[in-house]
C-alpha cells in the first residue's frame, strides 16, 4: 500500500523540497557572499567603533596619568577575542598603557604612527586619536587577528548551514503534513479505481473528500461507474435472455431431431417390412406368370402372349425395385467393418466385370493411381459398382465411352473421382440427383430404379464422407467423393 502510494507523494515532496532548497540555498549563499564581501569593511568599522569606545573611556586615565585605570579599561578587551593587542600612547608618543591577549606577541611600536586602520597579512589594526573635547590627549593602538575574523566568517557559514538544514527539515515536515490535503483524495480515488479494475466490482464508489478539481474528478468517476454498472446490468440481462433462448432452441432442436430420428426409424422399418412383405406376392405373380406363359403358350394367341410378357416384365421390375429398396433399407441397419482396403484392386476388378457386361462396345477406361482407403469393403465395392456402371450406362449412346477414374488431394483430404463423357445432366436438377427413386432421365432412355446414387450417398455418408457432382447436359458428368477415416498409413504407402 505504501509502495503504491509513494510516487505521487514523492513527486510532490521532491517539488517542495527542491523549491525550498533552491530558495534557501540562494538566500543563504547570497547572504554569505554579501557577508564575505562586506566583511573587511564591517570588521574595520567594528574595530574603529571599538577603538572609539576605548579611546573615549581612556581619556580621563590619560589626563590624570592613571595607567592602572587605563590598563583596566584596556583589559576589558579580553571579551573581544580577535583583539590581540592594544596600547595607549600619551600625547608625547610614550607608551602609557597596554594590553596583550597572550604573552608571545611582537613588541609594540615604540612611537604611534599615522592615524587610521590598515590590513596586513595576518593582522589588521591601526591608530586612533584619544580626544577629550577638542584636546588630543594621546593615541590608541589596536591590533586584531584576521584568523579570528575568518573564524567569525566560519561561524556565519555554520549558522547559514544550520539555518538551511533546519529550514529544510521544517519544509520537509510541513510538506509531509500539508501534502496530505492534496494526495489523500487522489490516493483514495486511485484506491477505488484499483479496486474496481482488480475485482471488476462496479458497485464501489469513491468518497468525495474535497471540493476542488479532485472532487469533480471523483464525481465524474462515480458517475462513470454508475453508468458502467447500469450498462453491465442491461448487458447481463440481455445475455441471460440470449442464453435462455439458445437453450430453448437447442432443446427444441434436440426434440425435433429425436422426433425425426424416431419417425425415420419407423419409416425405415415400415419400408423394410413393406418391401419384404411385397416380395412374396410379386414373386408369386412372376412365378405363376411364367408357368402360364410356358404351359399355355400353344393355347394363347399373340396378343395374350404379349400381355403375359408385359406382366412378367413389370413384375420382374417390381421385384428389382423391391430388392433395391430392401438393399437401401438394410444399409441403415448395417454396421460398417472398416479395414485398410485397396481401392485400386477393387476398381480394377469392377471395371473388368462391367466391361464384360458391356460386350464389345468400344470403351476407353483409364484408371489413375487410387490410394488405399480405410473403409468397409462390401459397401465401398457397392459404391464403385454403382458409379462405374452409371458411367458406362449413361455413355452408352456415345460412339466411344471414355471413363476416367482417379484421385487427388485437396486441403489434406483424399478425393476420388470418376468422369464420363455421357449424357450428363442439367445442374438445376442437382438437388434431385441423390434422392431415392429420383431420376433425371426417363426409363426409356436409360433403365434404372433411381436408387443407385441414393445408396452411394448413404454409404459415403455412413463413412463420414461426402459426395458431389459436376455436370452439363450432354457433356458428361464427374462424381467426386471423400471417405473420412482413411488410413494415413495407406495414403503414405500409396504415395511411395
Amino acid at each position: 500500500m505504501l509502495r503504491r502510494n509513494t510516487p505521487i507523494q514523492q513527486k510532490l515532496m521532491k517539488v517542495i523540497m527542491l523549491t525550498s532548497g533552491a530558495v534557501l540555498l540562494l538566500t543563504c549563499s547570497s547572504f554569505f557572499a554579501y557577508e564575505f564581501v562586506t566583511f573587511r569593511q564591517s570588521s574595520m568599522r567594528e574595530l574603529s567603533t571599538l577603538g572609539e569606545i576605548i579611546a573615549t573611556n581612556s581619556t580621563a586615565a590619560l589626563a590624570f596619568d592613571d595607567s592602572t585605570a587605563a590598563n583596566e579599561i584596556l583589559s576589558a578587551l579580553k571579551a573581544e577575542r580577535h583583539i590581540v593587542a592594544a596600547g595607549v600612547y600619551d600625547a608625547d608618543g610614550k607608551l602609557f598603557s597596554y594590553y596583550r591577549a597572550s604573552r608571545n606577541q611582537t613588541p609594540f611600536p615604540t612611537v604611534p604612527e599615522a592615524d587610521g586602520y590598515q590590513f596586513a597579512a595576518a593582522y589588521f589594526g591601526g591608530y586612533q586619536p584619544i580626544v577629550q573635547g577638542d584636546k588630543r590627549l594621546g593615541t590608541l593602538y589596536l591590533k586584531s587577528d584576521t584568523g579570528a575574523m575568518y573564524e567569525r566568517l566560519k561561524l556565519y557559514g555554520t549558522i547559514a548551514l544550520l539555518v538551511v538544514a533546519l529550514s529544510f527539515l521544517l519544509a520537509y515536515l510541513l510538506s509531509r503534513n500539508l501534502q496530505h490535503g492534496i494526495t489523500t483524495p487522489i490516493l483514495a480515488l486511485t484506491e477505488t479505481a484499483k479496486a474496481v479494475s482488480d475485482r471488476h466490482d462496479y458497485s464501489v464508489r469513491a468518497v468525495k473528500q474535497v471540493d476542488n478539481e479532485v472532487g469533480v474528478l471523483t464525481d465524474a468517476f462515480n458517475h462513470m461507474l454508475t453508468r458502467i454498472q447500469e450498462q453491465n446490468l442491461a448487458l447481463n440481462e440481455s445475455s441471460a435472455k440470449i442464453v435462455a433462448f439458445n437453450q430453448r432452441l437447442e432443446q427444441r432442436v434436440a426434440e425435433r431431431t429425436a422426433e425425426l430420428e424416431a419417425s425415420n426409424k419407423e419409416l425405415e422399418s415400415f419400408s423394410y417390412s413393406v418391401s419384404h412383405d411385397l416380395r412374396a406376392p410379386i414373386r408369386s405373380i412372376h412365378g405363376y406368370g411364367n408357368i402360364l406363359k410356358e404351359e399355355y403358350a400353344s393355347v394363347f394367341d399373340a396378343e395374350a402372349l404379349r400381355l403375359i410378357q408385359t406382366i412378367l416384365r413389370n413384375s420382374k421390375r417390381m421385384g428389382q425395385l423391391i430388392d433395391d429398396l430392401l438393399a437401401f433399407s438394410r444399409l441403415g441397419r448395417k454396421e460398417l467393418m472398416r479395414f485398410d482396403v485397396s481401392v485400386q484392386d477393387i476398381v480394377q476388378i469392377i471395371v473388368e466385370e462391367q466391361k464384360s457386361i458391356e460386350g464389345d462396345r468400344p470403351l476407353e477406361i483409364k484408371i489413375e493411381k487410387l490410394p488405399n482407403a480405410f473403409a468397409d469393403l462390401t459397401t465401398l465395392r457397392q459404391v464403385w459398382i454403382n458409379l462405374v456402371s452409371n458411367a458406362l450406362k449413361y455413355s452408352r449412346d456415345r460412339e466411344r465411352s471414355i471413363v476416367e477414374i482417379g484421385s487427388f488431394e485437396k486441403d489434406g483430404a483424399l478425393i476420388y473421382y470418376i468422369k464420363d463423357n455421357g449424357a450428363g445432366f442439367d445442374m438445376k436438377y442437382y438437388d434431385k440427383l441423390f434422392g431415392v427413386f429420383q431420376r433425371l432421365h426417363s426409363q426409356k432412355e436409360f433403365e434404372g430404379t433411381g436408387v443407385g446414387l441414393a445408396i452411394v450417398q448413404r454409404i459415403i455418408a455412413k463413412h463420414g464422407g461426402k459426395i458431389w457432382a459436376e455436370a452439363k447436359l450432354n457433356e458428361g458428368a464427374t462424381f467426386y467423393f471423400t471417405l473420412s477415416g482413411m488410413s494415413s498409413s495407406a495414403v503414405a504407402v500409396n504415395e511411395n
Partner: protein, 193 residues
C-alpha cells in the same frame, strides 16, 4: 637620593687625602639642592596639568559664567607652587569658548570670580568660609592638604605609589551644582564626609 650619594662618599672616604674630596663633595651636594627643587616643581607640573584637565571633565552650570565667552578662571589662594607651569599649560587654551586664565589670590578677601580655586593654605579656620563661597559661586575647590576633601574641599591631590591621585568629595561637588564626568570619577577615590 643625593643624600644617599653623600653617605656613600662618607663611608668610602676614610683616608686624610680624601678629606678634601669629602668636603668638596658635601659642598657640591649642597649646591645640588637645585634638583630637589625640580622634583617638587615636577609634582606641581603634574598638578598644574591636572588642574587644566579638570576643566575638561567638569561641567559648570551656565550661571557660573558672566557671559558665554567669559574666561574660565583658575584661582590660586596662597603661595603659588606651580610657578610659570600653570600659566604655560593654560596658555591659549579654550574650553567651550571660555579662554583659560590664571589668577593668584593672597588673602581670602582678594578672592574674586573664578571657576577653579586651588587652596594652598593650611588655615583650616578659613576653609569653612572658602567652601561656603565655593558652594554659592559654583567654584571647584582643589587642594593637596591633608583632610582637605574630608573637611568639605571638593578635590584633593594625594600621593600614592609615587603617583598623584585624586580624591573627590561628591557631596560638596553636587552642592556647588557642578557635574563631574564619570570618567574622572572612575579614577578618583570618593570621600563621604
Amino acid at each position: 637620593m643625593s643624600v644617599l650619594k653623600i653617605t656613600k662618599y662618607l663611608k668610602a672616604g676614610r683616608s686624610k687625602a680624601n678629606l678634601w674630596l669629602m668636603l668638596v663633595a658635601v659642598l657640591l651636594s649642597f649646591g645640588a639642592s637645585a634638583p630637589r627643587q625640580d622634583e617638587i616643581t615636577k609634582e606641581y607640573q603634574v598638578k598644574a596639568v591636572f588642574l587644566y584637565n579638570f576643566t575638561q571633565f567638569i561641567e559648570w552650570p551656565p550661571d557660573a559664567f558672566a557671559q558665554p565667552d567669559a574666561p574660565l578662571v583658575i584661582g590660586i589662594l596662597g603661595p603659588d607652587p606651580f610657578g610659570k607651569y600653570l600659566d604655560e599649560t593654560v596658555q591659549g587654551e579654550k574650553i567651550d569658548g571660555h579662554p583659560l586664565v590664571v589668577q593668584r589670590f593672597h588673602t581670602l578677601a582678594e578672592i574674586a570670580h573664578c571657576q577653579i580655586l586651588f587652596v594652598n593654605r593650611d588655615e583650616k579656620s578659613e576653609w569653612k568660609q572658602i567652601f561656603d563661597y565655593a558652594k554659592a559661586q559654583h567654584v571647584l575647590t582643589v587642594g593637596d592638604v591633608t583632610n582637605f576633601s574630608k573637611q568639605g574641599g571638593m578635590i584633593r591631590f594625594f600621593p600614592e605609589d609615587n603617583k598623584i591621585r585624586i580624591r573627590i568629595n561628591l557631596t560638596s561637588v553636587k552642592n556647588a551644582e557642578l557635574k563631574v564626568s564619570s570618567k574622572l570619577l572612575r579614577l578618583a577615590e570618593i570621600v563621604e564626609p
